[in-house]
């Protein structure tokens, strides 16, 4: 089809995704008087950033002595040394300025008695490179993500950013020389496709924990940007690393913030034993998330789980008292009462490890430019394409993200990407011609769901995939388990072409959206299993029972997964920071 046959809108930059990262980048571009269009498949304040609870980490030293070097050390150690130290330095060094900027924008942070921003302890935070607990996470009660997302949306209203609310992105448009020239989108309300032409395209599409049966993630977290990148022939990085948050509500998956343990909550098994000191003698309940998740999984396996099926443990915050619980953890109290039937003022909260965060994603450098290996040469930026936030792998989180670093990642790299785009647009003032066949491909992806004959349903296949991932790619993994998972996924994927919709309407057809999302989820599940099977070591959140040790000689490197033939490639970890000394990999204990 001639691209002229679908409506076209032209911008300097187009952003896909209206969560924290997309909104922060949009603000940078709008304030630079560039013409920016932001597509979001939901109204921006419905984005998953809104569910972040505990806070945003920055070494403000408002409560205890602190500096960004210590934050950097903790982040490198937390990443199990897989994080790129240049990017980690960049993030931690810029963290205080990023938080002050949010405060200036109006974010309603909780306050200390002296009027400064309230900070609470979080897991994996230390003073003096592994010393006593630091207090580093800045919070707006336990709804920091809500406060951050709404504040950024509000600033974008003031900056008059042009929003395309309830538009779904189908695919990237990329020419023969590799330039990304925009996206083909779908206006959900009308069901009509629309071409968004731009000299720079920024992906901020968030995570994809919906590949799992149980997750803390919103329904919308289907990794649409990752699917687009895979289809464009570009790789995904470190897809074996998924964080299982230690404390999700069993079955429903809702997150119970690490801030609960930060405020003094303790984990207990069915014998009433506070078991964390056995696993992490120093940090105890505030060890890194991977450590606490494994500990809970061990307790449950050993038959010390609580409840009729012994499939969860108790998180007890009662000693904090009603007043502090209401003031500092009001959202947690609501969630616990609504979804676990327990008021934390007088009962412990049932919790179990739950898929929460994607450490891997679209490979980028610290400017947010998407990078890919070019033939045998080193990696190069894909011209015109950026990614930031959870969909990106910079990599600041490596093999395990620290709590409070996710919101920080959004604003630091959202801003950095916006800033770099400004320079890129100045250097690339002329729009390149659009290749029509790329648009056709995206439209074919849409038209495929017009077919009426088929024996499979989208909901059925999605559920099967989610169960496979839940059972074969969870907290503990083995070669046999992963292989079996991949075999089963092969079979489910092979049935995808037989899926058909019953609903062929155009306007607000959410069944069709779910079908398009399933394409993305399926590709991500596959990337995850293939990457996890290859990595024969245990590092951070990737725990291989058949390879229980970390193996720096062989595996201190990033995985790159390409969709074509499930090809894997690897690239070295950037151990050299920007200005400080390298933190050499050493044994990781808490």
């Amino acid at each position: 089809m001639n691209p002229a046959r679908i409506p076209k809108r032209t911008f300097d930059a187009v952003i896909v995704g209206g969560g924290g990262a997309g909104l922060r980048a949009a603000l940078q571009l709008s304030q630079a008087n560039l013409k920016v269009g932001l597509l979001s498949k939901v109204f921006p304040t419905r984005s998953h950033t809104v569910s972040a609870q505990g806070g945003i980490t920055a070494a403000l030293a408002n409560v205890s002595e602190d500096n960004w070097h210590w934050h950097m050390y903790d982040t490198v150690k937390g990443s199990d040394y897989l994080g790129d130290q240049d990017a980690i330095e960049f993030m931690c060094r810029n963290a205080p300025a990023a938080v002050y900027e949010l405060e200036h924008m109006g974010l309603p942070f909780s306050r200390l008695d002296n009027g400064k921003i309230y900070q609470r302890p979080f897991g994996g935070q230390s003073k003096n490179y592994g010393g006593e607990q630091a207090i580093r996470t800045c919070a707006a009660a336990d709804r920091t993500g809500h406060a951050l997302l709404h504040t950024l949306y509000q600033r974008n209203i003031a900056a008059r950013t042009q929003f395309f609310e309830e538009y779904f992105a189908l695919d990237l448009v990329r020419d023969d020389e590799g330039y990304v020239l925009g996206v083909v989108g779908l206006e959900i309300e009308t069901g009509e496709p629309c071409l968004f032409e731009a000299r720079a395209t920024l992906l901020a599409t968030g995570g994809a924990c919906r590949i799992f049966r149980h997750s803390t993630n919103a329904h919308i977290n289907t990794g649409d940007g990752l699917g687009m990148v895979l289809r464009a022939g570009l790789p995904l990085e470190d897809m074996e690393f998924w964080q299982f948050h230690p404390t999700g509500i069993p079955e429903v998956g809702s997150l119970i913030s690490e801030g609960v343990r930060g405020e003094g909550g303790i984990l207990y098994n069915k014998d009433g034993e506070a078991f964390m000191p056995r696993y992490a003698p120093n940090a105890k309940d505030l060890a890194s998330r991977d450590v606490v998740a494994r500990a809970i999984a061990q307790e449950i396996r050993a038959g010390r789980g609580c409840g009729p099926h012994g499939d969860y443990v108790h998180l007890d915050i009662r000693k904090l008292g009603a007043e502090k619980i209401k003031a500092r953890l009001p959202g947690i109290r609501e969630l616990s009462m609504q979804f676990a039937g327990a008021d934390p003022i007088d009962a412990p909260i049932p919790v179990t490890p739950t898929a929460h965060y994607m450490m891997g994603g679209i490979p980028t450098n610290l400017h947010g430019q998407v990078v890919t290996p070019v033939r045998t040469g080193p990696e190069e930026a894909v011209p015109g394409l950026y990614a930031m936030g959870e969909c990106a792998c910079v990599s600041v989180h490596g093999a395990n993200r620290l709590g409070g670093n996710s919101l920080l990642d959004l604003v630091v790299f959202g801003r950095a990407a916006g800033q770099h785009v400004i320079d890129y647009l100045r250097d690339n003032p002329i729009p390149r011609p659009l290749p029509g066949e790329q648009v056709d491909k995206a439209l074919a992806r849409l038209a495929r769901w017009d077919r009426k004959q088929g024996s499979e349903t989208v909901a059925g296949l999605r559920l099967e995939m989610q169960k496979i991932m839940q059972d074969h790619c969870g907290v503990y993994r083995t070669e046999a388990l992963l292989k079996e998972g991949l075999e089963q996924l092969d079979k489910v994927e092979a049935r995808l072409p037989d899926a058909a919709l019953a609903d062929h309407s155009r306007m607000f057809n959410t069944a069709r959206l779910e079908a398009l999302e399933l394409d993305n989820l399926m590709g991500i599940a596959r990337a995850t299993l293939v990457s996890a099977l290859a990595r024969t070591e245990s590092r951070g959140a990737h725990t291989r029972e058949d390879h229980p040790k970390r193996d720096d000689d062989r595996w201190l490197r990033h995985t790159l997964y390409f969709r074509e033939n499930d090809t894997l490639d690897y690239k070295p970890v950037r151990l050299k920071p920007l200005t400080v000394e390298t933190f050499q990999p050493k044994e990781r204990t808490y």
């Binding site: 405060e103 002296n114 009027g115 709404h150 003031a158 329904h219 309407s505 607000f508």
Partner: protein, 232 residues
């Protein structure tokens, strides 16, 4: 369980109708959204509704269940009278099934300039704010823009284009109440209007339905008393 759900297909040319569904589901611990998803996944994939976080924080799935505006994702199925009648939020145009056109609602929200206005040079660090001043914002900033309150308000039903409605007014007051904001006078000037603010007659439907337990009527009352104080 029996459900009776509002259906409207804009492409069919047919008038809206109520459709019954019988769903085999144990309601224990389940929410209305779980039932909607189960209906869509197993009985009728053409049923359209919005959803995102499924835990009461994103505000996507405001609907009217048995006559009351609620968030589907935090409304327990247990105890609901059958057939459970689910309709779109009242008064807004219906795009399809349970999906309403929120444009008017968002326009009112934008009209109150829902962002901090402070023209002082930015300090190097944070602006200080006493905890008691910050406490003035509690019950205001937590609004999730679901629209349950505004679409339950008779004053909004009568003048949806002119009366800003409880959600927008709550956000208007959120910035008036912020000690860091310097635009109180401008904000009050904008709100001092027979329609925008003064169509609120204290009916308090908004307070009753707010899924976050917020109190827009109280915020509106505070705006009114600030206007009175200013006039004296």
């Amino acid at each position: 369980m029996r459900f009776r759900i509002y259906r409207y297909d804009p492409e069919s040319g047919n008038a809206p109708r109520m459709q019954d569904y019988d769903l085999a589901m144990d309601p224990a611990g389940k929410k209305v959204l779980d039932a909607l998803i189960a209906i869509k996944d197993t009985l009728d994939e053409s049923l359209a509704f919005r959803r995102s976080c499924r835990e009461g924080v994103c505000g996507s799935d405001g609907v009217n269940v048995n006559g009351t505006n609620v968030l589907a994702c935090i409304t327990a199925l247990e105890g609901l009278k059958e057939p459970i009648e689910i309709r779109p939020l009242p008064r807004l145009g219906v795009i399809r099934d349970l999906i309403v056109d929120m444009a008017q609602f968002y326009q009112h929200y934008r009209a109150v300039k829902p962002y901090l206005i402070n023209l002082d040079p930015e300090p190097e660090n944070e602006r200080l704010q006493a905890p008691e001043d910050r406490a003035e914002l509690d019950g205001l900033w937590e609004c999730i823009l679901c629209g349950c309150c505004t679409t339950s308000c008779p004053s909004f039903w009568w003048n949806p284009d002119k009366f800003l409605g409880p959600a927008a007014l709550l956000q208007g007051y959120r910035f008036i109440a912020d000690t860091r904001d310097q635009a109180t006078n401008e904000r009050l000037d904008f709100l001092e209007d027979p329609y925008r603010l003064f169509r609120c007659h204290g009916i308090m439907n908004c307070v009753e339905v707010c899924p976050k337990g917020l109190n827009p009527t109280q915020a509106i009352g505070k705006i009114k008393s600030l206007l009175v104080k200013r006039a004296l």
